[in-house]
Symmetry: C2
Subunit: 140 residues, 2 copies
DNA sequence: TGATTTTTGCAATAATGTCGCATTTGTGAT
DNA sequence: ATCACAAATGCGACATTATTGCAAAAATCA
């Protein structure tokens, strides 16, 4: 996916948004990061260029428009990511480090489900999270 | 598991707690419910008999002592359950209704994982959550 | 460029969770 | 049974995370 400002702006407009600098920056951040991000992490990366409320609004709007989706909830933080590697209902699993909070997508990790969830229940989405320690926090 | 007050009190004392009425009630709630519960749901069931802060403290203390564990985080709410059906690292999957917030344990639902999470990473716990609609919310 | 509409920043407020401390409640000894 | 001690509770204050209203600013389109 290209990540220059022009193509980001186009992507935003196609999705029905005005291509404001804040939105371009947030979207570019996700594309460059290639990993799930929380509002906190975005704020840290952007500094005070964007208001807290705006980041929340951008994340909600992007998610509603399908530009992002909520990968999982880590402790008290919602973690979002680009949906480019996921189908509508089936998302790849994620890893979350319990020490530093670092997150990663587990694309080579397959999860197979067997069995029924019960009569009358409708499954819409499956979320798998592996918690543990990342290489950096492992030794400590 | 028995759920009368006397055996609950004994269980609490064995775990190193005083068998206060609040703790007996909370533990009894989990045993009778047979499903995961959040602080909010506990408060609703108990009414004003127990303070908010006490419920939080009880849930933390029980979790630390191994009497409960945190099943998953649902939106902004932490959801706890008895660990009687789970190993240390492997917990059965859960279902969460996106409409009413109702939760259930999926004991007949098997999740098989294949592949590596990556070099240097340590997996400690696996959490699987199926989101969807429960029978009651399905038609709406 | 100017008009229109969306988006932002800011401040106020809500929702959720935590902490300190005086008071109350279990517990075990007497 | 009652007493003294330690633990747990209730309450209020505070911390953190998220949302909302509204005036000001920015993007889009004619």
């Amino acid at each position: 996916m290209k990540a220059d400002r022009t193509s980001l702006s186009d992507l935003l407009r196609v999705s029905g948004f005005k291509a404001t600098s804040g939105r371009v920056e947030v979207l570019g951040l996700f594309i460059r990061a290639g990993r799930p991000l929380s509002q906190m992490q975005i704020m840290e990366m952007l500094g005070p260029r964007l208001d807290r409320a705006s980041v929340y609004r951008i994340l909600s709007a992007f998610t509603e428009a399908g530009l992002l989706h909520m990968a999982y909830v880590d402790g008290r933080h919602r973690v979002y990511e680009l949906p480019d590697k996921c189908g509508h209902s089936h998302c790849h699993p994620h890893f979350s480090c319990r020490s530093c909070g670092m997150t990663a997508c587990l694309e080579d990790f397959q999860v197979k489900c067997k069995g029924s969830i019960g009569k009358g229940f409708v499954a819409e989405r499956q979320k798998v999270l592996i918690e543990g320690l990342c290489p950096g926090c492992k030794g400590k």
